[in-house]
């Protein structure tokens, strides 16, 4: 072959030179567990649904969301969003407004009439669910998705359980509750209202149920003995909130005293204010720092004119007054009486001292182990009786809507496995995507979007929803504040910063691969990856 002057060899490509042999460490794409997902009691894949929302693909986002939690619009209102407390963005500027985006997606689903994906083929098995609260609805939904026949027994004439009878309308409008429940009914779950179950075994036998899930809420207000002249003026929070759903609203008078320091106490005090009470006073025996109620709920209550009497207990109730004793905290933070008393005007006293579960229906199930008023369950939510599972308020722990939804989901998975004589598959947990895994330089500076709040006059006189929704533009903005911790969001940075072209881009939605023939293991991709989705691993010869 003739070559140009002074050229003796053909031009070769450096591709013959496999520089991958230089490597002592290799980059590997990983999925790390985002802290939001890790913190979610309902096990939502938040990072993933935000990924779709970022693109404006709200339906896809909602579909990922409801894989774990069917009550999106409700969650976006009543969840105490531990995800946001865990959010890595909180260490950068402010956490992502996950709850607000969730609400937007839930509302969008209701506006657009999105239905759940078609269910799996009918399994022919039947499961009874007791209670239509968040635990029961969640269990029913997840069981139905797996193709099982589900019947929910609800003692009340309307569905929702403690979401209806424990959460005031200004936090959860009933139209929202009804829409989310209806969607579950529409997928073929049978809802029997006004049917109290007294004998679980008998019902299971009569109707040939193969398994049972118990999701009974804590509907009995704890009472404390208060020496009282007129005991009729003393009521409890659960009763007040329950009455709010009926025709006859509770008559609490002009000066209402609420006794307790939890979220329910705050709910009742705010409800009393809306019912026309001039004074709504929470009496709590400890300090603000010790109060179990969520601080934003307390703040909203204070804005609405609710007052709090700290470090006080009610010693006695007279005809139009109550006697309050001042307390002081001892070294271990427990309130101790001081012997100082004070008299306050009060037309009524509402006790919000905690709630118990009505466990009467379990009387005929001696195998069930009940300790301190809660049903004991194993790691799969199964009670001492095979085939009977339980979740929500009645198994104890943190009593929130989201926890209950998580219990329902977990129990449904266990029931499904039980019906198939197997054990539920446990996916290995990924390592946590902690803040130090991120390269936050790459994220745009963007403060959190504030949700609109109802004006104060309407908050004191009506039951309109206090916290408003984000519109589409702000929801999109908020979704795009997500840093996608631990999971590739296809920013092409690894593909760009590799000095050796050793990152192969597979195209939209397909991610990337390393070309280990040429990767020298410099680690630039891992160092520059914004979201910490690349790990350097030692080469083993």
């Amino acid at each position: 072959m003739r070559r140009p002057y002074a050229i003796t060899l053909d031009v070769g490509s450096s591709l013959a030179n496999l520089t991958g042999s230089w490597r002592s460490e290799r980059p590997v794409y990983v999925d790390r567990l985002p802290p939001c997902n890790s913190a979610c009691p309902a096990g939502e894949n938040i990072q993933q649904w935000l990924f779709h929302a970022e693109e404006g693909n709200y339906q896809a986002a909602w579909r990922v969301l409801v894989r774990d939690n069917p009550l999106a619009a409700i969650m976006g209102r009543v969840c105490y969003h531990p995800c946001e407390s865990a959010c890595n963005r909180g260490l950068l500027d402010e956490s992502v407004g996950i709850n607000a985006v969730e609400r937007f997606l839930g509302d969008e689903a209701n506006r657009q009439g999105w239905q759940f994906d078609p269910i799996a083929a009918d399994s022919g098995r039947r499961v009874m669910v007791v209670g239509s609260g968040p635990a029961g609805l969640s269990a029913a939904y997840h069981l139905r998705r797996r193709g099982h026949g589900v019947v929910i027994f609800e003692a009340e004439s309307t569905a929702g359980g403690m979401m209806r009878f424990g959460i005031p309308q200004y936090r959860l409008p009933r139209s929202v509750l009804d829409s989310d429940v209806q969607r579950i009914v529409d997928m073929g779950v049978e809802l029997r209202l006004g049917q109290r179950v007294d004998d679980i075994e008998a019902t299971m036998q009569q109707e040939k149920f193969d398994a049972c899930f118990l999701g009974v809420g804590s509907q009995i207000g704890k009472r404390a003995y208060i020496p009282a002249g007129d005991a009729r003026r003393i009521t409890d929070a659960v009763a007040v909130l329950h009455q709010m759903e009926g025709e006859n609203k509770p008559l609490l008078g002009r000066r209402v005293v609420v006794y307790g320091g939890g979220n329910t106490a705050i709910d009742v005090a705010r409800t009393a204010r809306r019912l026309g009470a001039e004074e709504s006073i929470v009496v709590y025996r400890r300090t603000r720092e010790k109060m179990p109620a969520h601080s934003h709920e307390l703040n909203e209550a204070l804005e609405e004119g609710v007052k709090v009497k700290w470090l006080s207990t009610i010693a006695a109730a007279g005809d139009e007054t109550i006697t309050v004793e001042k307390m002081q905290l001892d070294e271990s933070g427990n309130p101790q009486p001081t012997g100082e008393f004070e008299t306050m005007q009060a037309d009524s006293v509402v006790l919000a001292l905690g709630q118990d579960v009505d466990l009467d229906l379990l009387a005929r199930l001696p195998e069930l182990n009940i300790e301190r008023g809660v049903v004991q369950v194993d790691a799969l939510q199964m009670t001492g009786r095979r085939g009977i599972f339980a979740g929500g308020d009645m198994v104890g722990g943190e009593r929130t809507v989201t926890v209950a939804v998580g219990h329902g989901k977990k129990a449904a998975r266990a029931i499904d496995a039980y019906l198939r004589d197997s054990t539920p598959a446990q996916a290995a947990k990924h390592e946590l995507a902690t803040f130090d895994r991120l390269n936050t330089w790459y994220y745009s500076d963007a403060p959190k979007t504030i949700r609109p709040v109802l004006d104060i006059i309407r908050r004191q006189s009506t039951f309109d929803e206090v916290v408003g929704s984000l519109d589409e533009a702000t929801a999109l903005y908020e979704a795009r504040r997500c840093m996608s911790c631990g999971n590739c969001f296809e920013c092409d940075t690894c593909y760009g910063v590799c000095p050796d072209n050793a990152v192969i881009k597979l195209g939209p939605g397909k991610g990337f691969e390393f070309n280990y023939d040429y990767c020298k293991g410099c680690g630039l991709c891992a160092a520059e990856c914004p979201c910490g989705a690349i790990r350097m691993e030692p080469e083993v010869d």
């Binding site: 490509s13 745009s444 881009k505 195209g507 939209p508 630039l524």
Partner: protein
């Protein structure tokens, strides 16, 4: 710079790509169609900033010229690691020059193309800081003065890395090199007069001068693209950290370029006909220590005793850049 208008798409235009941006707003480096002008298998060290900067620049130039590009390349690291005869990593027509005459060779290529009437084919010359600011400086200045139709790109890694890290006129004060050892009363390179070639290029009043770094690929690509839209002599000076010569971790290459620009030590700006027209403002200012500490060539500033006064002099240089180039985004250009 002017191209980073996207306010908030999660990462905006900070990352190399962004799936939330429209196709037209994406960088060359994020596309499947990029030339990969400098292909895999080259012999550059792990984490080489120059290999990265060269691919960024030439890929952008290829797109800007519709793949009608000839590249001249001065002797130096870039040439040695990419093209040991007879094999090459270059996927563009490429010509190797002597150490000091890349500008002259590129001028000749441009002249030949003009004679042949090939107006569609454009020419770039590239070299390291040694081949540009020292050895090739005469040829470069001549190219500027004649306003030859060449884009000259200098990959500045602040010393002669290929031959064993000897000092160049681009080596910063106090840096340890093979010829400026960290010994004696004033260890490392001297606080000299400095030799700011971008400013010297501006003094030639050529159509376009810019600086860039491997920490901001979009900015770099925008400048190359703009340069290729113009004719006459153009000059782009790109900071490319060198793990070997700087004594830094290979994975810190991009971070170091970022710290150099965010501290103000390396001002990123562009100029037309001798006047500065724009600068890349500092987003999150960092003290120069953060930049210096990651490099063993500055280790003697921290051990055995912290050289507070020396670091203060370097900080003063950064502060002067910030003031002079308006890197906080305030004041007139």
């Amino acid at each position: 710079m002017r191209t980073s208008h996207v306010k908030f798409y999660q990462t905006g235009t900070f990352t190399v790509g962004n799936r939330l941006l429209s196709e037209t707003e994406r960088s060359v480096q994020s596309t499947l169609e990029r030339t990969n002008a400098l292909n895999s298998g080259h012999r550059a060290c792990q984490g080489c900033g120059e290999a990265l900067g060269a691919r960024y620049a030439i890929d952008a130039a290829m797109r800007a010229t519709n793949n009608q590009l000839i590249a001249a390349n001065a002797t130096g690291c870039l040439e040695v690691f990419s093209t040991p005869y007879p094999e090459t990593s270059w996927q563009v027509p490429w010509i190797h020059s002597l150490f000091g005459n890349a500008a002259a060779v590129a001028t000749g290529v441009a002249a030949a193309l003009r004679v042949k009437g090939r107006t569609d084919t454009r020419v770039v010359a590239q070299g390291g800081d040694g081949g540009t600011t020292d050895i090739g400086f005469g040829c470069l200045s001549g190219m500027f003065e004649r306003n030859d139709d060449v884009l000259y790109i200098c990959y500045d890694n602040e010393a002669y890395m290929n031959t064993g890290v000897q000092r160049s006129s681009a080596t910063p004060p106090t840096a340890r090199t093979a010829t400026t050892q960290a010994v004696g009363p004033e260890p490392g390179n001297v606080f000299g007069q400095g030799k700011n070639v971008p400013l010297i290029a501006m003094a030639h009043e050529i159509p376009y001068v810019a600086t860039a770094s491997v920490a901001d690929v979009r900015d770099l690509e925008a400048k190359v693209t703009k340069a290729m839209s113009m004719h006459g002599a153009r000059y782009i000076h790109i900071l490319v950290p060198c793990p070997l010569g700087w004594g830094s971790a290979p994975h810190d290459t991009v971070k170091l370029a970022r710290l150099a620009t965010e501290s103000g030590l390396f001002p990123v700006f562009e100029a037309e006909r001798g006047e500065i027209t724009d600068r890349r403002t500092i987003r999150k200012q960092v003290p120069v220590e953060e930049y210096l500490r990651l490099q063993r060539r500055f280790a003697h500033l921290f051990k055995p005793v912290l050289q507070v006064d020396v670091i203060a002099r370097l900080q003063a240089a950064a502060d002067r850049n910030i003031r002079r180039f308006g890197l906080h985004g305030q004041g007139e250009l």
